[in-house]
Subunit: 273 residues, 2 copies
Amino acid sequence: MSKLKRNERIGAIVKILCDSPNKVFTLNYFTNRFDSAKSTISEDLVIVKKIMEEMSLGKVVTIAGASGGAKYVPQMGREEKQALIERICEDIRKPERVMPGKYLYMADILYNPTYTKGIGDIFAEKFSDDHTKVDYVLTIETKGIPIAMMTARGLNVPLVIARHENKVTEGSKISINYISGTTGNLQTMYISKNAFKKDSNVLIVDDFMKAGGSAKGMTQLVHEMDCHVAGVCVLFDTTNPSQKLLDKYISLIKYEGIDAKDAIMVHPNYEYL
Amino acid sequence: MSKLKRNERIGAIVKILCDSPNKVFTLNYFTNRFDSAKSTISEDLVIVKKIMEEMSLGKVVTIAGASGGAKYVPQMGREEKQALIERICEDIRKPERVMPGKYLYMADILYNPTYTKGIGDIFAEKFSDDHTKVDYVLTIETKGIPIAMMTARGLNVPLVIARHENKVTEGSKISINYISGTTGNLQTMYISKNAFKKDSNVLIVDDFMKAGGSAKGMTQLVHEMDCHVAGVCVLFDTTNPSQKLLDKYISLIKYEGIDAKDAIMVHPNYEYL
């Protein structure tokens, strides 16, 4: 391969950084890969940083020192975030989503690759500061998994999935019982005994919060394993009950229910957008 | 914002394309966003295409004509694919993975954001040709979901998740019964009646195949809904039984079991790498 030009190096650096959010690439990595001097790569990184910020395409953080380098952190512009969540709300409002029993069909939204990527990036951005170091993302099967996976990817940390059943194929477990706000039933959630290293910071991510039973259960699991809850993020929560089992959580969409005319009342929660 | 220089436009184009694999962006999109002439953007795209291919960073496909534009398609170099799968195999071989009953603890591998992204890209690449147009990715809960989600993201198509239980919150279902190769039990899988549009092509993705019961069950679900199976992809399959319930599938890792000394016998399936 012939030596790359600046604009070629910049294209390649953007691809490499953005493919692995929150992963630090050293200057040496780039000097080896591009057969270029450190000073050249440093100048490239200045341009990459500038363009990402100017175009609201994310943040590139450069790290000084011997082990220095650069990493990409997901960061959407405010308008882009709001546009995404407004688009999701519009999609939720489709009348055909109302199921018997006034449940909402949401699977296609929760498993949509564009939506989940965007939601994951919004959550990851909020926990990408150095003072809120997240070590794991935790969710409970099933519907929150895609969003949780995209959040874990944005943060470059492992995902852990709590299960409703104690699978023999997965070794020793810790379990807790909790009341599901959706069904009112007593349920059990299980997690592998070795899922977290002691003293880790765990970010809890789920699709939906009504009373907060599942999220509360997950915080108990985290504490049970001598770890800390870094935060709780859900895509949407209900306005009723207004009093949740958890004091502090991030929700991107407020769901008020279905009115007498079967209209779905849902709106972006601009507080977090 | 002042007018961008070529190297800035190239950085931004790479970010925009790679953020949305398999999504076509028109020339107009870029001319508006960068306030540049079509000829300028076309030249930028030639450079982007070249650098991605030279550096094995993926493929950029340019589409000619009035509605023309460009899209990014995940494409790893052969060495990079093999290195990823070899690294995963090495990780699987850790002795502490052996659970009572000779089960393997695999959750941390299946939920690792770097691994799942890479595996999803490998699967997506194989089905990104125009003659194998995929409309949906289908998996069954729980452990295959992250890989399936990353594959769906690479292909830019919706993910559909078959469930083991008939959740009342999700409307009408189609169900089929199948024998799980792992447990030997008769199980049921459910899918929403409206999950697929008729005549769609569905790519089945799962973490693991032993006899092929789950994958076979999913193909039955697909046919039940008047759709076609575009392919079946699993991260790993067992060498025993060698005769599966399905003739044709893609597996990236061959698992031969645990030998008398508790060594985990696993190796990359170079046929698909």
